[in-house]
């Protein structure tokens, strides 16, 4: 078993007791809720005549069903309106703070937590959404949970969990130009598989990780769940503290920052920490990674050939054959040149300010291909405002991108933004499962935000390293 890791330390600090099942009752420091997975939990609470135990440690937003075009109430979609109303009623009754669209703070739950300073090192964070692993970028232990567990957290402020092993994933060296965090995580999942992380939490470390900004670390931790890991995290460091210091919360409460910093530093993994497994990847050898299939592990370097199913491990061959049929790709080809119909720049993986900046640099002075519909869906209202102030909206709109309101949008197609028929989508999101983007025949190709921008312009998957990028946008 691991010892002296951030996971061990934060786990111990939050352990309430051991349950008769052998599971640990773990205190939850931050419970994030949204409109899709919480209404049933509030319903269960009412049935049991229970109240929310720690409303002050709970924070709500609306992201999955919120329209990204016309947000006037009632929403055009009755089902969406009902979910929104239900959430409004639940948070009002319980006294839970709600980043609603009128607050100027609304956005994807995994974007707003960090940007509001709610996400902090050494916290346990849960949310009824698998991408809660995102918050691990700050050295928090963050887990996606189901609705019955949401009920538990609402009722008790705790969750029943089993301790996992810790796998350290060390990404060494310097990432080449044009290669970013998204490529690192797609490569990790390609190598270890979608179920390679079952039984583990992932600690991301090494020079390439340490050199990433917080947004890049969030992109990596975000997709831990796509690799089967229960959570992922990066140890807090100066980059983390700098980011936190700039949040509105700590700007207003600088003394709290000073009080908490020793705790944050104390939970970082010890130099001599013991891990259950260590995997090393040479970051300097990576290139932009795109998916050719229907799971996030079915990825390939953009200049590399798509593998033949028979060359893959036996248990992956059948899935690969079905994926290649669905995506209409052939082994031996590269993804470079794969025609696309839609470009989606958004999602909790890649819709933060630096993602939009990097994509805008590629887009600047160019036009979206006439056969492509391209959209930018900022991760939050704050991201949208910041991007607009920098002129990024103008850049995208001048090129022909549709600039929409914050939300999950076409990542999972629970609002009006969906693929139609067999459209192929260059997407900065996290899942390429069949039907994920709202059409069961739709085809999703995952890639980094710059690659999405390049695909939008060219109308096909394109190696962004071959595209000259503008310098006009604020440097990141």
């Amino acid at each position: 078993m691991s010892e002296g890791t951030l996971y061990d330390k934060v786990w111990d600090r939050h352990t309430v007791t051991e349950l008769p099942t052998g599971q640990t009752q773990l205190f939850v420091g931050l419970h994030l809720i949204h409109e899709v997975t919480s209404p049933q939990a509030f319903g269960m609470l009412r049935e049991r005549d229970m109240e929310v135990a720690y409303p002050e440690l709970t924070h709500a937003t609306v992201d999955h069903i919120v329209p990204t075009a016309d947000q006037s109430r009632p929403y055009a979609d009755d089902a969406a309106e009902r979910m929104m109303s239900e959430l409004e009623e639940n948070v009002r009754e319980a006294g839970i703070e709600f980043s609603d669209p009128g607050s100027g703070n609304q956005g994807i739950v995994h974007v707003i937590g960090p940007e509001q300073g709610l996400t902090q090192p050494g916290k346990t964070i849960v949310c009824g959404d698998s991408h809660t692993s995102t918050h691990g970028a700050f050295g928090a232990l963050a887990f996606g949970i189901g609705t019955s567990q949401i009920r538990d957290v609402l009722a008790t402020g705790t969750v029943a969990m089993e301790k996992k092993d810790v796998r350290k994933i060390e990404v060494t060296g310097e990432l080449p130009d044009g290669v970013g965090a998204k490529d690192v995580i797609l490569e990790i999942i390609r190598r270890l598989g979608t179920d390679g992380g079952v039984g583990y939490v992932y600690e991301y470390a090494g020079e390439a990780i340490e050199n990433l900004d917080m947004e890049g670390r969030m992109s990596i931790c975000n997709m831990s769940i796509e690799g089967g890991a229960r959570a992922g995290y990066v140890n807090p460091d100066e980059t983390t503290y700098e980011w936190l210091r700039e949040t509105e919360y700590f700007q207003k409460n600088p003394e709290t920052f000073d009080q908490l910093k020793p705790y944050w530093e104390s939970v970082a993994s010890d130099d001599d920490a013991e891990y259950d497994d260590v995997v090393t990847i040479d970051g300097s050898e990576l290139e932009p990674v795109v998916t050719w299939g229907t799971t996030p592990s079915q990825g390939v370097g953009v200049t590399q050939p798509i593998p033949a199913p028979e060359d893959l491990p036996a248990d992956k061959q059948d899935t690969a054959r079905r994926a290649q049929e669905h995506m209409r790709v052939e082994p031996g080809e590269t993804m470079d040149g794969y025609p696309i119909d839609v470009a989606f720049l958004g999602s909790c993986t890649n819709a933060r300010l630096p993602d939009l900046r990097r994509a805008a640099r590629v887009v600047e002075g160019r036009e979206v291909h006439p056969d492509v519909r391209a959209m930018v869906v900022p991760g939050s209202q704050r991201v949208a405002r910041a991007a607009e102030e920098e002129g990024l909206r103008e850049t995208f709109e001048a090129a022909g991108f549709d600039w929409r309101n914050a939300g999950c949008s076409m990542c999972l197609g629970m609002n009006e933004d969906q693929l139609e028929g067999d459209e192929a989508c260059a997407s900065s999101s996290n899942r390429n499962f069949v039907g994920r983007q709202g059409s069961k025949d739709g085809r999703t190709v995952l890639m980094n935000p710059r690659m999405v921008a390049a695909a939008a312009i060219e109308g096909e998957v394109t190696d962004v390293r071959d595209v000259e990028t503008a310098e006009v946008v604020v440097d990141d």
């Binding site: 205190f27 049991r48 796509e226 059948d318 999972l412």
Partner: protein, 205 residues
């Protein structure tokens, strides 16, 4: 649902249904568009919807569309079942379709946790064993499968095989402590102590 102790789940018996293929994600088990609801009621009909129906709502070839499996309560699946989204809607839909237990090679952890919260065992066995059970179910759609959670075996026809049930899951099901709310609520005093020991709690939010 009541606030009392949960039922014990020592055995699940019933006929089987094979759903073959690795890496079946929760978007396949229940597409996101059916999650625009505020209760889980009625989700059963949408289980594997896009695998079962084409764009014009015509039935496609899928075991859940076959009459012979209509009364099944034990689903037999392959590797990494339930990966992807944490949506409890997925096991809720399967339970409401009629599933009480799932046998597979491996399960995504959040999915297995969600099943446990509903009292549904997710037992595992190696690929060969699972395929043998799936083949047997195909040939014996009316045959009973007995999932013995306490003793970690599955019996079908004249065959009994060893399977694995996660320790915490087995204890929770067999002792009837899988509904953890009341159990954890009873420790409210301890929870307060833990909260008070954390430097950030007073300052949070």
């Amino acid at each position: 649902m009541t606030d009392g102790p949960a039922e014990t789940v020592e055995h699940v018996s019933g006929s089987g249904i094979p759903v073959r293929g690795n890496d079946i994600d929760t978007d396949q088990i229940i597409p996101a568009r059916f999650m625009k609801v505020v209760t889980f009621d009625g989700l059963g009909q949408f289980s594997f919807f896009d695998q079962r129906f084409d764009g014009d709502d015509n039935e496609k070839e899928h075991p859940m569309n076959e009459d012979r499996f209509r009364d099944a309560s034990v689903m037999v699946v392959n590797a990494n079942f339930g990966c992807g989204s944490s949506r409890e809607h997925a096991p809720q839909a399967l339970v409401r379709w009629g599933i009480d237990a799932i046998i597979g090679e491996s399960f995504a952890e959040i999915f297995a946790g969600n099943c446990l919260a509903l009292g549904v065992p997710t037992v595992t066995a190696d690929a060969e064993t699972v395929t043998a059970i799936q083949d047997w179910v195909d040939d014996n759609p009316d045959g009973d499968i007995d999932v013995d959670v306490a003793n970690e075996t599955v019996t079908y026809g004249d065959t009994t095989v060893d399977v694995t049930v996660d320790d915490a899951q087995r204890k929770a099901l067999v002792e009837g402590v899988w509904d953890t709310t009341a159990l954890m609520k009873a420790n409210a005093g301890e929870v307060e102590k833990t909260a008070a020991s954390l430097p950030y709690v007073d300052d949070a939010a």
